[in-house]
Amino acid sequence: MEAFLQRLASRLGRDMPTFVERPQWKHAPQQTVFQGYSQDELLAELKKQCTRIHTTLVETNTAELQQTIEQVIDAHGGGPIVVANDERYEQVGLSSFLKREDVHVWDVSLGRANIEAAEKANVGMTFSDITLAKSGTVVLLNHHNQGRTISFLPKTYVAIIPKSTIVPRMTQAASIIREQKHVPSCINFITGPSNSADIEMNLVVGVHGPMKATYIVITDC
């Protein structure tokens, strides 16, 4: 490493710096996007963006959440379902949903069997930790109780989005992540289903990851 970096320093015509202060950038256009928008206005922007990313957005409230989720899952052809081991499910009144026979809750003690469950699942479901209105993106800060493959291996991906998690764009997500003491080993920014335009520039939805995506926004949460 020494020699490698020394070479760069000498190419740059100086000794290697011991500290570099990040400059105050002259421009900051990213800060002004949807500046001062209310949560309602941000939700409206998120909805608009979803029409462009092949993603259905459903609005509901805590009281009707379970019913809405069941409708969405039925519309996608039912279970099996794989979900994160996330205390928020209980907070929004979904304890009985988790007891459904076709629901697999991520369980560290089962090891690789979780991945196999995700591979067989029709639906993978997680909460969005931060939601980006501008691009229609859900941000997952994964951890041991929320495996990476929940959002990748099943045929359909469903994100539960508390309205309070909606921010203007990736800028806000970047600052939230920088404030964390421990950066998660895997952060996913997911914007709709998997797709590719590699064959004659034709858009094909559903290549390696989910073929469909639905966002369920809880408006009173």
Binding site: L5, R7, N114, H144, S185, T191, S194, I199
Partner: protein, 472 residues
């Protein structure tokens, strides 16, 4: 040179490209579409020039302090339990990667798209070990299945192939039985590759941006293949060109936005994934072991020179999508995995003038590339600098230009020869002239007239005309 694709002379490759009608149509169509989408995405922001200025500022600052940020990155990767290897050359990088693979006794490797692994010819090194290396980006997979056809575009590698060709290859190599519909072809690839992810020993990725402050790497895809490559195998190796780094998450997000808008006109692609070290304790998926290989391979020779701005590149291919030369000759003509204007600047720097001296001349200097670049690399100026260097310092101008210049020099140096030459020109080319145009020129004119007509020399020389006017 490993980044080299195709053999044969530059003009032979161009000849082949120009006569490939499907490729030219596909390239023109893709250029139109990607260019329009990029312009729409830029217009939608309203303050695109401010974004570009910010992008340029971030890239310049990072390059000026590259040694510091790479050290910071390396320390933070190690803090998270990852391993870092600095590779001065392609050979060093491949040796390290092979050592890791051997130590795991790995047989099957899945890989997401990465230009730098193409550049160092990593697949060949791993295949020599007896490993199977499977590309998972759909475009790259198609090329690999078709006997390792090289990529022709940085973002859309299989752009030069039509769906019927892909169907035929799938039928021959993958027991495919359905039609040429892109949906059916993609579904078959999904099925084949899903099995590979689940059974691979090692996952290899490139790196769109590394974040120095946290030791993270960012991967940008629409397919999500990079996620499966990194979530399922036990060992992950990430290979990055040493300049693909930013100070913190805040700069990463700006550059990712510039990349996705410039490459495909999307605000963000479907999957942007930030990975930090191997999996944390208790996690079930994600790699147990993480290796970051930081590759120089000629990049440090560019630092501190007039060509340094080329290292600002974020590989979006916006310059490729506006280039009139690329449009006509296609990606393979460049003879390098880096095509278009960025390839014409970068390939001679990484691969040397011996192989790539023609590329800086494959440009109209129209500056469309410079205008399209989201991080403001002065591409057309760098092309011009290459020409100056080639002629002045290296004495390696293309042979046809050298001959022409020599002949002109000889003719123009002697007043008598010049008089004679200009006088006999109309007569000398008369046999090739129809209606004052030459369409099948002799000797050095042939290269020109193969493609377009050349105006025949005026019968009356300028100096005679001038002399006569003076007398009138």
């Amino acid at each position: 040179m490993a980044m080299k694709i195709n053999t044969g002379e530059f003009h032979e490759r161009v000849e082949k490209g120009i006569h490939n009608t499907f490729m030219r149509g596909a390239v023109a169509g893709a250029q139109e579409r990607l260019r329009t989408r990029r312009l729409e995405a830029a217009a939608e922001l309203g303050n695109w020039e401010q974004w570009r200025a910010l992008g340029e500022e971030i890239r310049k600052h990072t390059l000026e302090n590259l040694d510091y940020y790479l050290m910071q990155l390396s320390e933070n990767v190690k803090k998270r339990g990852g391993h870092v290897f600095f590779a001065q050359t392609a050979e060093e990088a491949n040796d390290y990667i092979c050592r890791v693979v051997e130590s795991k006794q790995a047989k099957k490797i899945v890989k997401s798209k990465s230009m730098v692994t193409e550049e160092i010819h990593m697949n060949a090194a791993l295949e020599k070990l007896g490993c199977e290396v499977i590309e998972t980006d759909l475009g790259e997979y198609i090329l690999q299945v078709d006997d390792h056809d090289p990529p022709s575009h940085i973002v859309a590698p299989a752009l030069h192939k039509n769906k019927e060709q892909i169907r035929d290859v799938f039928q021959e190599k993958l027991a495919y039985t359905k039609t040429e519909k892109p949906e059916e072809l993609a579904l078959h690839a999904r099925h084949m590759l899903r099995h590979e992810y689940m059974t691979a020993d090692v996952g290899i990725t490139g790196c769109n941006f590394a974040v120095a402050e946290t030791g993270s790497i960012t991967l940008v895809t629409n397919e999500g293949n990079a996620d499966l490559v990194t979530a399922l195998p036990k060992t992950q190796i990430t290979v990055m060109g040493m300049e693909r780094i930013v100070p913190t998450f805040e700069e990463m997000e700006v550059l990712v936005s510039l990349l996705t808008r410039s490459a495909v006109g999307q605000k963000l692609t479907s999957y942007i994934t930030v990975l930090t070290g191997p999996r944390d304790e208790g996690e079930v998926d994600g790699p147990e072991e993480f290796h970051l290989v930081i590759v120089d391979n000629g990049r440090s020779d560019i630092l501190g020179t007039e060509f340094q701005p080329v290292l600002q590149c974020i590989r979006c291919a916006a310059c490729v999508n506006v280039c009139p030369v690329y449009r006509h000759i296609g990606g393979h003509s460049y003879g390098s995995i880096y095509s278009g204007p960025i390839g014409a600047v970068l390939s001679p720097l990484l691969g040397g003038y011996d192989d790539y001296k023609e590329l800086p001349y494959a440009s109209t200097l129209c500056a469309a590339c410079t205008e399209a670049c989201p991080v403001k690399i002065p591409l057309h100026e760098l092309l011009l600098k290459h020409r100056q260097t080639i002629v002045e310092r290296e004495g390696k101008a293309p042979i046809s230009e050298k001959l022409a210049m020599k002949a002109f020099g000889l003719g123009a140096a002697s007043s008598m020869l010049y008089k004679l030459g200009s006088k006999i020109a109309p007569t000398a080319v008369h046999p090739f002239t129809i209606n004052d145009r030459i369409s099948k020129g002799p000797g050095p004119l042939k290269a020109w007239t193969d493609i377009r007509e050349f105006p025949a020399p005026e019968k009356e020389r300028f100096r005679d005309w001038f002399k006569q006017r003076g007398e009138e």
